[in-house]
């Protein structure tokens, strides 16, 4: 039994997982190091706690891998509902940390259910899409899938935890893989484009630009259909979006939200106030040069100049202490792991497995992109952790569960041939 199951595990993914966790801990150690380091597992120290989470996640992995793959598929709905209840419960029993009511306090520890809700949503979505009756090209089914995804996101959003809610955009990738129309992608890209351009230029200029582009498309179109009306409605939507973005940005957003965008767009920089994090993070990374300042030798890290450095800004420690070489190695490991997961997902015979694999890759990617993008100053400040790296038991366990369920599914891909 054991021999059969271990043989099927993708050891490469497991190896990268442990590499990332280990490198992550080494950097958390440096970022949270006080003058006197007593022991590696000092539970009153951040790095000691993280070591405990890591050791416990090994047990978690053993449990995850010994459960039968069928279990995850069968109980996905139950898991999803429990997960929803746990995040709804936050409104009544949640503990507020850093302004967000996202934690349950149990004894001396806190647990963040949103980190686990992603896994539950991925399972539920996979289950729904792989259902023989579901056709993702069908508008009704699209709407049902949207509800499965949006429900946890909408519950998390007002806690407020915009970062965690944003991650649910990752489920676009499995949907698209399974046949969701590319129009959504184009619409999303256009929407984002209009959004960003509106922030840089005035909505009037954006509207004029949109009109010119759409007119060009209209005159050079190859097919008769859709008619002029369709083009006109797209233009109206673009103009409406632009003006509403402008209105929301100027009147509904608070200054701190506006600033986050302005920093990345290079519009205004106040390095003492809102821009402080990004600026200090860039200084830390930028001063790393080729090979970095050496482990625990980062002056920015030691001086505590980068806030939240052991959690969301952990990558700045990598940049400062390990330099360009170390940073690119970490980026490469992430890229490699994500590509490997997609590759594994593609070889699944079960649609459930494949959708889940794509969900894993998508979630990892959004975290990876938003987090590192923020730390290196090309994405607005959004507080989400770097998978396997950032300090935090919930985050580490959430990603461990997410990944190892897929590794278990992949290991048993042959025995589920019939559902495909």
């Amino acid at each position: 039994m054991m021999a059969r199951s271990t043989a099927g595990f993708d050891w490469l993914s497991i190896l990268i997982y442990f590499l990332l966790v280990a490198i992550g801990w080494v950097n958390i150690y440096s970022a949270s190091l006080d003058d006197a380091a007593t022991s590696l597992i000092a539970l009153d120290e951040i790095y000691g706690k993280q070591m405990l989470w890591i050791l416990l996640s090994v047990f978690l992995i053993v449990i995850l891998l010994s459960l039968e793959a069928k279990f995850y598929e069968r109980f996905s709905s139950v898991i999803y509902i429990i997960s929803l209840i746990s995040i709804v419960g936050l409104f009544f029993f949640g503990k507020t940390i850093n302004g967000a009511t996202s934690w349950y306090a149990i004894g001396g520890f806190t647990i963040q259910p949103a980190e686990f809700a992603k896994v539950a949503t991925a399972l539920a979505l996979s289950k729904f899409i792989s259902d023989i009756q579901t056709n993702i090209k069908n508008l009704g089914d699209q709407f049902k899938a949207f509800i499965i995804i949006a429900l946890p996101a909408l519950i998390i959003l007002p806690q407020p935890d915009a970062g965690s809610a944003m991650v649910y955009a990752a489920f676009f990738f499995p949907l698209y893989r399974e046949g969701l129309s590319g129009v959504y992608l184009i619409a999303a890209v256009c929407g984002i484009l209009v959004f960003l351009l509106t922030l840089i230029f005035s909505p009037i200029w954006v509207s004029i630009g949109a009109a010119v582009v759409i007119l060009l498309f209209y005159f050079f179109r190859k097919k008769k259909r859709p008619g002029a009306l369709a083009y006109l409605s797209i233009l109206i939507m673009a103009v409406a979006l632009s003006f509403s973005v402008d209105y929301i940005f100027e009147n509904i957003f608070e200054q701190r939200h506006r600033d986050r965008f302005n920093i990345v767009l290079g519009q205004e920089v106040d390095n003492r106030g809102i821009g402080y994090n990004t600026n200090q993070s860039e200084i830390a990374i930028g001063s790393g040069s080729w090979f970095g300042k050496g482990w625990t030798e980062g002056t920015q890290t030691k001086g505590g100049f980068v806030p939240e450095q052991h959690t969301d800004y952990i990558f700045s420690t990598v940049g400062e202490e390990w330099g360009f070489v170390g940073s690119t190695v970490v980026v490469f490991l992430f890229i490699f792991l994500m590509l490997r997961i997609i590759y594994l997902a593609e070889r699944q015979k079960s649609q459930f497995h494949r959708v889940y694999g794509y969900s894993v890759a998508g979630i990892l990617f959004v975290h990876f992109f938003v987090n590192i993008g923020m730390v290196i100053g090309i994405f607005p400040t959004v507080g989400i952790p770097l998978p396997f790296f950032s300090y935090g038991g919930s985050s580490l366990w959430g990603f461990t569960i997410l990944l190892f369920i897929f590794i278990k599914l992949d290991a048993e891909r042959m025995s589920f041939g019939r559902t495909s």
């Binding site: 893989r177 001086g303 360009f324």
Partner: protein
């Protein structure tokens, strides 16, 4: 497309991240400096500056503690400004101004409020300090002088200027640096090396221990103690003699080239340039454009040397074989040349041979010798260049290369110089056009130190060491080749005999017969130099400069000296007397001719110096018109 979209997006974002990281970490260098500014504080540990001793081991310069009042504006609490200003002797307006300045500089970092308290101010303020929160007293080290003399030799300490900070990475703004004299030239020996400590700071600017466990930290190296060649007693005596006069004295030890004293007048007390009155005093010295006390006349003043220069022509004449010591030249109150032109001389017996020619300083004798030198060669150009080459071997006409931070080359004319003046070859020139060179007038210029060095070379009968001021570093004699290698002149030693005899004769029967120093055999030469000044665009002739060179004892020279007294009339009048007194003081330790000493001490030439600025016609040279002796 459906299968590869996520691949593409992931790989693209990987590339974007790598590019961004490359830009931040490799291409843009600004972050390294920023992170250092952020997190590393550099603390300097300034070592004690080296002491300066005179040649006899007398301490001349040491250090004294000084106390600056500093302020950290954000720590200020309301305080009794009237009392505070009263203690420090400043007005409330001055206080307000410096506090405003400090606030603008930085509310968190210390700024200087009042520099260099006196000891009594410090003692008084120290007791009351607890009442003035935000202020504190910073201890620093300043120069402490044990002598009121030799300011020009010692130099001074000042805050380093921005240009030096830019050029020399050792200095940071606010550091002190030696300027002029010993302090300037031997800055690197005296200052030592400051220690550096790198302290790591956290984001609240608190120290969190040494950076990298202190591997980059360095300990300060103490400045070296220097022994200089100056005889502090002699220096002091020379400055006293030069009071109320202008000019320079340079005394050398011929056997070593060591500078025994280097006097410029007027001078100032070195302590004037220390402490709170420093900038006020410095401005005063700087603005005195007439007396020019910051101008070291011993090193910088280029005068025509006058008659002492005749010794050079005698030596060159002998070396070139154009004159014999027995050759006599006649003189009828001057030298006649060309179409009835005459170069005047004074009354003395005629004809004269070399020894007496020197003793009587006969112009006609030396014009004859000079013409023979120049005319020995087919063209005057060749002759002139031969002549100039001999002079240069005595250190004339170029920088001496001493270890003093300042100097001038003087001037020895070459054939090129006259070619240009006379527009050769369109017009030709002959030795007669340049005969003022024979008597040290005209185109020739020397500084007192060059003249003293020339005298030392004669005393040594043909060689000298480059004059220098540094004797020992921490008790170890200097080894610098430049100052420990003999420089030989182009004149053979046997030719010096007659010239030294002539200079000795000056004291026995010649122009300094009245200046004999009891018990010491001195060889010397008087000199008088015409000089002109331009005041308000008008060129005026002033009373002649009084010049004297001497060395003693004749057979075993211990001191060679050159004295210049501006507008002192003739050589024997001021310069000769001063030279004699200096020699006696140095060799005997005391002066026996008190009458002569008193005469010099009491005499003032201030009236003479005011003449050209009076706006009225004035008489020079006591109303007579002699230009030489």
């Amino acid at each position: 497309m459906r299968k590869i979209l996520l691949y593409i997006i992931i790989i693209t974002s990987g590339l974007i991240f790598t590019a961004r990281l490359f830009y931040l970490q490799i291409m843009d260098d600004s972050f390294t400096g920023l992170s250092e500014n952020n997190a590393i504080k550099v603390i300097y540990d300034y070592p004690q500056r080296g002491f300066i001793y005179d040649r006899n081991g007398e301490l001349m310069v040491s250090n004294q503690p000084s106390y600056d009042v500093m302020v950290i504006p954000q720590n200020l609490k309301p305080f009794d400004t009237t009392e505070f200003c009263g203690i420090l002797g400043i007005t409330p307006q001055q206080l307000a101004r410096s506090l405003d300045k400090a606030k603008i500089y930085s509310p968190r970092l210390p700024s200087l409020v009042i520099p260099q308290l006196t000891k009594s101010e410090y003692a008084y303020l120290q007791e009351k300090m607890r009442k003035y929160e935000g202020f504190y007293i910073q201890k620093r080290s300043l120069r402490d002088y044990y002598t009121k003399h030799g300011a020009n030799v010692l130099g001074y300490i000042a805050e380093v200027n921005q240009r030096t900070v830019n050029e020399n990475p050792y200095y940071i703004s606010g550091d002190l640096i030696g300027k002029q004299g010993i302090e300037g030239f031997y800055e690197e020996l005296l200052r030592g090396v400051k220690g550096v400590k790198y302290i790591q700071k956290d984001r609240f600017n608190r120290n969190i221990g040494p950076y990298k466990e202190g591997i980059y930290d360095t300990l300060p190296k103490k400045g070296k103690d220097l022994t200089i060649t100056i005889d502090a007693e002699l220096q002091k005596y020379g400055e006293l003699l030069m009071e109320n006069k202008r000019g320079g004295i340079v005394a050398l030890e011929p056997a070593t080239g060591e500078i025994l004293s280097l006097i410029t007048a007027p001078n100032y007390d070195p302590a004037d340039l220390v402490g709170r009155k420093r900038s006020e005093n410095f401005t005063k010295l700087w603005l005195d454009s007439i007396g020019n006390p910051l101008y070291d006349r011993g090193l910088l003043a280029e005068y025509p040397p006058g008659s002492p220069f005749k010794t050079m022509n005698a030596l060159i004449g002998l070396q070139e074989g154009v004159v014999d010591t027995r050759d006599k030249f006649s003189c009828q109150m001057g030298y006649y040349y060309g179409r009835g032109r005459k170069f005047g001389c004074h009354a003395h017996s005629s004809p004269l041979s070399m020894v007496n020619g020197i003793a009587q300083s006969c112009n006609a004798y030396f014009i004859n010798v000079y013409r023979r030198i120049i005319e020995k060669y087919p063209t005057p150009q060749e002759g002139m260049d031969r002549w100039a080459a001999h002079l240069k071997s005595f250190g004339l006409g170029d920088y001496l290369g001493s270890d003093l931070s300042t100097g001038r080359p003087g001037k020895v004319p070459s054939s090129d110089y006259y070619n240009k003046i006379y527009n050769y070859p369109t017009y030709k020139w002959y030795s007669t056009a340049t005969i003022s060179n024979a008597v040290g007038q005209g185109e020739i210029l020397t500084t007192p130190i060059q003249l003293a060095n020339m005298t030392a070379a004669i005393a040594n009968r043909g060689w000298f060491y480059t004059p220098h001021i540094l004797k020992e570093v921490e008790g170890t004699p200097i080894k610098d080749e430049e100052f420990t290698r003999k420089k030989h002149t182009t004149i053979d030693p046997e030719h010096f005999g007659p010239v030294v005899e002539g200079m000795h004769e000056v004291y026995k029967s010649g122009t300094a017969a009245a200046l004999r120093v009891p018990g010491i055999e001195v060889a010397g030469k008087t000199g008088t130099a015409e000089n002109f000044v331009r005041v308000g665009g008008k060129r005026m002739q002033l009373t002649d400069h009084s010049i004297f060179v001497a060395f003693a004892p004749v057979d075993d020279p211990k001191i060679a000296i050159a004295v210049f007294v501006e507008n002192g009339y003739w050589g024997g009048r001021y310069a000769g007397r001063i030279a004699g007194l200096m020699i006696e003081k140095y060799l005997k330790g005391e002066v026996t001719r008190k009458d002569m000493e008193n005469w010099i001490l009491e005499k003032s030439l201030e009236e003479e110096y005011k003449k050209p600025y009076s706006g009225e016609p004035f008489l020079i040279n006591d109303g007579k018109k002699y230009s030489w002796l």
